[in-house]
């Protein structure tokens, strides 16, 4: 818009006025740190990553040899890569869980349930806590012999799972942890969205004889779809990059690489095996994967996201 305006002004009077030029200069100056950041810490590494993915680069030897698409061919034959991809997709499971609970919680807060302010503060607690501290607590909570969780579970089942040594259960433990951590934070978005729905809609619905359930499904839920969509996009980008939990719970990727995610695999390849070229190839493929997922989400969103009157 602004660019268009500037251009039309250009056509009318030749060149820009002194004042406009001063404003343009000030604007560029104000965003210059941002531009420098973009070029040095984003664009340059991005280009280097794609370039390096075609070399056999490793940190130990300075000479890089161009190897063409060899890294990519290797990647598609690499069973560990496919396992890591499977584990990464597993980390999408928490998203519907915490979104549902967050919506319920936000709805309850919106209805002014007694003590909602205290509840909100408590629900935000996990989100503000450091993930490393949380993983340490989690390891102790889910300790198979002395952990609180298993001593509770043993009241109901004979053999509670050994969370930290069985990859299957480690992954579920991470799912529980991420869901638990994000309910409160996600609810902030829903509380804001619920507040923005005009009261008159509900009044009109009430006059037409719609019950609370109908109001929720026919008014509330459709009107907050933009928020749900935003949370899905952000949630997917975040979940697909799960790293710390894996690195803390299964420092070697778990038995049979049953826990390691893509980001963890890239980190391992780059800094433990120092296969930088190969790590860059995985990173490039992974970056494209996330891009495709996001674009697909935006395309599909036209079918279900409410776009305003």
């Amino acid at each position: 818009m602004d660019c268009m305006n500037a251009r039309s002004k250009d056509k009318k009077g030749k060149g820009k006025s002194k004042l406009e030029r001063r404003e343009g200069l000030a604007g560029l100056l104000f965003v210059s740190p941002t531009i420098i950041y973009f070029i040095v810490f984003f664009l340059l590494p991005l280009v280097v990553c794609v370039y390096a993915s075609f070399t056999n680069w490793n940190i130990l030897s300075p000479n890089r040899i161009f190897v063409g698409t060899l890294n990519y061919e290797k990647l598609f034959m690499d069973p560990k890569f496919w396992k890591a991809l499977k584990n990464t997709l597993f980390m999408l499971i928490p998203i519907p869980i915490y979104i549902t609970f967050a919506l319920l919680f936000a709805y309850a807060c919106h209805k002014n349930i007694l003590g909602q302010k205290v509840f909100r503060a408590i629900y935000y607690l996990p989100y503000i806590s450091s993930i490393v501290a949380l993983t340490l607590i989690w390891m102790w909570l889910f300790n198979s012999q002395y952990g609180l969780v298993n001593s509770f579970l043993s009241l109901f089942v004979d053999n509670p799972p050994s969370w930290l040594s069985d990859p299957f259960w480690t992954k579920w433990m991470i799912v529980i942890m991420i869901s638990w951590k994000l309910i409160g934070f996600t609810s902030i978005y829903y509380i804001a969205a619920l507040k923005s729905i005009p009261k008159s809609y509900y009044e009109a619905a009430q006059i037409d004889g719609a019950g609370p359930r109908q109001q929720f499904f026919k008014i509330t839920l459709p009107l907050i779809t933009p928020t749900t969509f935003y949370l899905l996009v952000i949630g997917m980008i975040g979940s697909l990059q799960t790293f710390v939990e894996v690195q803390m719970f299964a420092p070697d990727g778990g038995r049979g690489y049953g826990v390691g995610t893509i980001v963890f695999y890239i980190w391992q390849k780059a800094f433990s095996s120092s296969q930088m070229g190969y790590a860059c190839a995985i990173a490039t493929v992974f970056g494209l994967f996330i891009l495709v997922v996001t674009v697909v989400q935006f395309t599909v969103s036209r079918k279900w996201v409410f776009e305003g009157d």
Binding site: M1, G24, G27, I122, S130, I131, I137, L231, I237
Partner: protein, 278 residues
């Protein structure tokens, strides 16, 4: 319509209460464990209130781990990032919302693309770049890029400043005020609630950062607090001093927690106010 307490509300309250207990139990368990003697940890059934209450973990932790160095480094990183990033990001937000300059939309779209690229794509090249310029094993990789801008804060403040009248800028210009002082003296003070909310978020992100320090530093004297407490973890839990680990976790959580409790009002209400719609 008469207002009375409906059974539905009571059920919702109970569900919320159960949820709140789930949220708080891990923290309570952390606190309880951190006050236990090492051998009391393995009692079955678990003991909620430690007998005797033992404070010595909170004394020992300072010598048993690298916590003090970690806190020092985390403070240096957080303070620098908070000061510089708040300044640069709010300045950029001001320019995007109130000034017209060449390539404005192009630059803004450019910033949007950075959100879609996962950090790990940049990680290996950044490591090599930092190696070349001698930044590895210093605090600079955590300070410099984060100080130059934070995309989320720019978006958030831009949204917030768009809501402020543009007439203020025109008036300032008539009074002979430059663009910088219009930003510094007029718009920045008006953004105070939004700035406070973002400062808390930024502090939380910087203080809790683990990935960056893990990759870019390796000597103990450069660890931040998260790396320092992560070192307490041994994969074989029986060899780990669990009460000590819990005490360290509590200390790591505490600064953000205190700030959050003090500023909670700012934090949640600004979000609701600005009405993030995605």
């Amino acid at each position: 319509m008469k207002k009375k307490i409906s059974p539905v509300r009571i059920i919702i309250f109970i569900i919320l209460l159960i949820g709140a207990i789930t949220m708080i139990v891990p923290f309570a368990w952390m606190l309880s464990t951190s006050l236990k003697e090492a051998n009391l940890v393995y009692t079955i059934p678990p003991q909620w209130i430690p007998q005797p209450v033992d404070w010595k973990n909170y004394v020992e932790i300072w010598t048993a781990s690298n916590l003090l160095t970690g806190i020092k480094n985390s403070c240096i990183i957080s303070v620098s990032v908070l000061v510089f990033c708040t300044f640069t990001s709010s300045m950029a937000a001001f320019a995007f919302s109130k000034l017209s300059f060449p390539f404005k939309n192009a630059i803004f779209v450019m910033l949007l693309t950075t959100i879609m690229v996962p950090l790990v794509v940049l990680l290996v090249p950044l490591f090599v770049i930092y190696t070349k310029i001698g930044w590895i094993d210093t605090l600079l990789p955590m300070i410099v890029p984060a100080s130059m801008c934070n995309i989320n804060i720019i978006f958030f403040l831009r949204q917030y400043m768009t809501g402020l009248p543009k007439e203020l800028l025109d008036a300032a210009k008539i009074d002979g005020c430059g663009y910088f002082s219009a930003y510094w003296r007029i718009y920045l003070p008006l953004c105070k609630p939004a700035i406070v909310a973002n400062v808390i978020m930024l502090f939380m992100i910087t203080w809790n950062d683990y990935f960056g320090p893990l990759v870019f530093t390796h000597s103990e004297s450069k660890q931040n607090i998260q790396v320092a407490i992560a070192m307490l973890n041994s994969h074989y839990i029986q060899q780990t001093d669990i009460p000590l680990m819990m005490a360290a976790s509590l200390i790591a959580i505490l600064p953000v927690l205190i700030l959050f409790i003090i500023c909670q009002k700012y934090f949640t209400e600004t979000f609701v106010m600005t009405g993030i719609k995605g």
